[in-house]
Subunit: 385 residues, 2 copies
């Protein structure tokens, strides 16, 4: 099985155009970021294989991407401020603009018509036409911005690092002139944020002080709540790259599972009361805590020196049920949409490992150049990704 | 806008092959059942238009369908026992088998490899290879079967009308020889069932007695709980076709919203305790109660004589916030995956109406022959649909 996948992958990579003109569905495709090579590996979930590579995307460290609603195009946000639109069917770059000096993420509107990018340099948010990548709106905010997300109703939410605010941009009436709602007093130096899958709660992580901030977007005006007052870094000189990404949080059955900053623990927080209800001891400093799509299990990967491991925690009992050692540098885990498989980036071994998400059995491997983020096209249909 | 959509639709329908060989993503396509014509209208969400029609599917009354993981193929379950595989890219029937005398629904396994059909005649469940439609397993159950659903882990759940059981078929080890778990004492004459989106809870509606039954599939063995002892039909001669489909239920934020049988009410049930927490008075007998994807609103359609209306209920306040009158015979509502639009089948007016799901504004209309079910391809990625 593994050899077959490798053979298929090698064949496809030497002749990526062979299939590119074939008619095919796009629901089971995906892209894997090869950060140092500045390329994207195109993968087919059904074949468990790589079927091509798109090159020339610039600096892809910390790169992320979003998909168009038809699951054909991806918008890639590079650290170098590049915004690149790629076509996964033809495996080509459609357009590339360098829109800022240092971008850290983006989002696509719920109608698929606008792509927004948040920037460290020059700060603020720029909004582009998803078809042409023409600039539609430029919103300076007097600050670096982080954690941009698509909010239902043609809106975006973003947090400001320098001023401790959350901005809501409503593009539903006029894309070029968003109606802006500013929420202040969020806390010192937001470093990341996440939007829950229903688009209701925007959670902001703080670097400048302890605690987190939740914004309930269903209230009018949105309601700001500080919670977990002891959550955060203990040492003032702890570097930013050790802070767990908030996108690694998971909301399962009314409970958040989140990586404890700097501790070998997973925290369980009641989503209604925003109070801690349990802790689970782990094998290292957690980075991502990702729920299997059925929400029964939380899969956790780790910062060095434990980044060769993955631990699995039962959502009902909060107990570790399994410890896997896929290999050196497990950077990311992506589940297939209905949770039958999980794909793991094993960066330092230049491969992606595919496991049955229930038996944990290794089903296949795909060679990849120092792979990091794995993104399946079903993300096109989900809010906040 | 409406005229443009109609023009596009008419053009496309006279020349459906014109685009069929073009490369395109399949994430924003869909199929609309034209029940009396025995055909499927192929639609493009992005264009808000019909782009073709697939004919020759037999009796499509109460037809439903599921999608392959790549969102290219659909499996259509007809009332006449027909199982038809269609290709939405080429707009052709790939294969059609008449597998039973009277089938009422089907499901596709979480790896996309097996398609299961539940039958009134001859009863039981038949399981087919999704690629070839060859029979893989035939599981007689000594009963008509209803409410089949895909359970995570290569499993199917189904309820038996005559014997009041729930059967779990686990195909994960050997597709041809499912491991069977039988749960008895479910209640008299299950008439329909639903699986929650996380695949945890299988809820069975009863025709032979009052009350409902929930099966917690996370417990080992699965835990059976009877609840809402007053829920159900009041008159022993109430015909089956007045019973609301359980697929019309919605789980939003830990609360089920469900149509009250024979009453002009929506019931709100706490998902944890399975007890009623509120009721909302409605304009008629509800059929479907469907949550907008952000779960903030529940949209309700009605049995005759109120089937020209749609009511919108706020999930926070449980109050009706709007009453729409799209036209005669509103049979089905389907939201776009991130909830920006809702598509409504207006059967008696031979059209599908597209509305902004927030402003309620009519954005476009598509002509269709007595349309009933609307199915967008994003269902491929969701459990229990």
């Amino acid at each position: 099985m593994i050899f077959k996948a490798l053979a298929l992958a090698l064949f496809a990579l030497t002749a990526p155009a062979a299939w590119a003109d074939d008619l095919r569905g796009t629901g089971d495709l995906g892209l894997i970021v090869e950060r140092e090579a500045g390329s994207l590996l195109v993968v087919d979930r059904g074949e468990r294989a790589a079927i091509g590579r798109i090159e020339g995307l610039g600096d892809l460290s910390h790169a992320s991407l979003v998909y168009s609603p038809d699951e054909r195009f991806a918008y890639v946000f590079g650290r170098d401020g590049g915004l690149t639109k790629v076509d996964i069917l033809t495996q080509k770059i459609v357009k590339r603009v360098v829109q800022g000096g240092n971008s850290i993420g983006g989002a696509i509107s719920d109608d698929g018509k606008l792509v927004a990018v948040s920037n460290y340099e020059p700060g603020g948010v720029k909004v582009f036409d998803a078809e042409t990548l023409d600039l539609v709106a430029d919103v300076p905010m007097g600050s670096k911005t982080v954690g941009i997300a698509d909010v239902p109703g043609g809106r975006f939410a973003v947090a400001t690092w320098d001023t401790g605010e959350v901005w809501l941009l409503d593009h539903s009436a006029d894309p070029a002139k968003p109606v802006i709602t500013k929420l202040s007093g969020i806390g010192a130096n937001p470093y990341d944020a996440l939007l829950t899958g229903d688009g209701r709660t925007y959670i902001v992580g703080l670097f400048g002080e302890k605690g987190l901030t939740a914004v309930d977007l269903w209230q009018d005006p949105p309601k700001v709540t500080r919670f977990l007052p002891d959550y955060g870094k203990d040492q003032p000189d702890l570097p930013v790259y050790k802070m767990p990404h908030l996108q690694g949080w998971t909301l399962a059955d009314g409970v958040f599972a989140l990586p404890a900053v700097g501790l070998h623990q997973l925290l369980w927080v009641d989503a209604g009361s925003l109070t801690e209800i349990a802790r689970t001891d782990l094998a290292g400093q957690p980075v991502f805590a990702t729920a299997r799509p059925d929400k029964r299990e939380i899969w956790v990967n780790f910062a060095p020196p434990d980044n060769n491991k993955v631990q699995i925690v039962d959502a009902l009992t909060h107990k570790v049920t399994d410890t896997l050692t896929p290999g050196k540098g497990v950077l990311h885990m992506e589940f297939t949409p209905r949770g039958r498989e999980v794909w793991l980036s094993v960066r330092d071994e230049n491969r992606v490992e595919i496991r049955d998400a229930r038996t944990r059995e290794v089903l296949a491997e795909i060679p990849a150049k120092a792979p990091s983020g794995i993104f399946f096209t079903d993300r096109a249909h989900r809010t906040g990704l």
